[in-house]
Symmetry: none
DNA sequence: TATGAATGAGGCTTCATTCAT
DNA sequence: AATGAATGAAGCCTCATTCAT
């Protein structure tokens, strides 16, 4: 059918715009990227952007939404409930690394995000927090992890990772922060939360 | 001298602008605050802003610089080398709380900061990191704190605090995050880094 | 012939577009109606509009032309040369009422009309003015109507009717102005132009 | 005082913009005049327009408001309650003629006017209708004018005048319609509404 | 012929910065 | 030094029109 062919083409262009926008936002920052930049990077006319998204804000929301969906799904793929905590956190880092640039600007510019985008960020973090808490529960019971409130466990880890992402200009001027510092962060964090006493016994 | 009188007046106006700008940036956010907002809040004309600062960017840098200086000094006041780690971190939180609004936007909008401002942030953190590391060294040697790389010790703490500041809209919708969550964060962090085994013995 | 079949199809689509456009223009106003609105209302693609009309302006002209033709014809149907003035004017009102919405926007937005459209308006008015003047002549001679210049007779009537059409938002917020005020206008106008003295005698 | 000097200058610029806008709207039409046209005609930068008026729509409203105020005042100046009907209508025409171009576009493009502007038009017409009705009452009682409903008396006159204004491209291609046709319209209208019988007696 | 995605010129508006007073 | 009106570059968005399918 010609119609569905067209439909497909349109969807592809829209997806392509989302993709290109994600790259541009990742490269130039959320506020600094203009709709014209995105159009130019996609080799489409400026007007085309508004054919697919009524406003810049909606485009941004959809980009964040797409990113959230993708990241959440990827997290689920990388994880299973049999994992150890270390494996969960490693998967988390891996998931981030795959879209590190965009994830980093998202974390860095949370403050200037449109209203709706915050929910997306929450959704992304739910995906990982769910797994972390599940495994944490098990390991705490097993005595291999210190007992501590779940929210603080989670927020400490997220805070640490976000801190490195936010400052990736310093920590990894030209490359991936996760690639460069990820495993060290992981080892360190595991040291913090592991119950050494329990193991020694 | 009449000249020095004038000079003094000028300096005072400039300081007042820096002060007012800091409040406005804290209230509205770094990107969202317009030069006209600052002038209006200071009850000065819009043009006056540019009499004291060649560009908005320079104003922002000076505001951050002033904030950094003040915060660093305050940290020094609050700390002495005899402190325990817990006291150091408590002092840190207290120092932050005194200018929480501005500190929070600074942390939240790091990404859109002018080049020069990053050094200021580093300076602020040096003040606290210096103390933390000094005490950490002592306590690690004394066996009351786990041994761990200093940078990770520091970054974990900073990451945790910044995470709460960045998300203060969620963690403390209308008030101070530090006032509300500070002591819990502190207790949690101390639990993480304390050498329980050492103490038990 | 297959060719003429196609031809016919094309003509039908074109007529349908003219029809739909007339409705839309009547509903939304001349300037406020976009080509995309017309296509959507006709359940045709936006591009199809330009297959039949090179520009929006031409479409508008053709719509006005079609309207003019139809209205002029309808006037002729409703009238015959034996009519009294009152019957002529009643017929005029009836003719207008049948397409009041479009007639009203035409009158209201005359100023923004393309060049060519003005002639159409003139043509429409010629149809009615022809009859009015014919009857007027007869009645003036018969002494039942005041003597007055034909153009002023005509323009006073048209002006009155157009005034009510232009302000139908006030005179008939949700309905037909003619239905609501037509007969009163007619009676009033007849009073103005009738030669009472002549009748009394 | 420097302040009041400034104040005055600003007010003057604003008034000048209103004046220039009125000319441009009169010349190019309400919809066709762009904010940039007005700025250029006033030899001011485009941005200046928005220093004085938050949106184009507000500018348009203020222009119409100023026009309304001026016209209403002028009407009052030209009229007094001792006038004859003929004098009242003559004054009305004179008042219109002084700003004919703008009055004409206002009448021609009523349909595309912002909401608030309609009230202004009503206000202008109230000024004249008030006088017309007052005099009409007197003259009807005196038997020199036909008895007729006031609203129809008024609307017939307004309709006639507006019709000529709306079609001034035809009635006076390059000049004032009122100058060219005013007195003839007046004479004609007086003939229509005068009570000839009464006079003959 | 019909489609509808893509185009791009052009409009409105914002806001840091300048300049005459 | 202070003022605040004026500037104009730049951003977002609309919509008539084109073009590949």
């Amino acid at each position: 059918m010609a119609g569905s062919q067209r439909q497909k083409q349109k969807t592809e262009t829209k997806n392509f715009l989302v993709e290109t926008a994600m790259e541009q936002f990742g490269k130039r920052g959320l506020t600094a990227t203009r709709t014209a930049d995105i159009a130019a990077a996609a080799k489409l006319s400026h007007g085309t952007v508004f054919l697919h998204f009524p406003t810049r804000e909606v485009l941004l929301e959809e980009v964040i939404g797409a990113f959230g969906m993708r990241t959440a799904n990827r997290m689920h793929e990388l994880l299973d409930s049999e994992c150890t905590m270390e494996e969960v956190l490693a998967a988390h880092l891996k998931g981030i690394e795959e879209n590190e640039a965009f994830y980093a600007v998202l974390v860095s510019e949370t403050a200037v995000l449109p209203e709706g985008a915050h929910n997306t960020l929450i959704m992304i973090q739910s995906a990982i927090s769910h797994h972390i808490l599940q495994v944490a529960q098990r390991e705490m019971n097993a005595g291999t992890m210190k007992k501590m409130p779940f929210d603080l466990l989670f927020n400490t880890w997220i805070g640490l990772v976000h801190y490195y992402l936010s400052n990736r200009a310093i920590f990894a001027p030209d490359g991936s922060v996760i690639a460069r510092h990820g495993s060290r962060l992981l080892t360190h964090f595991m040291d913090l939360i592991s119950e050494k006493g329990g193991l020694q016994k």
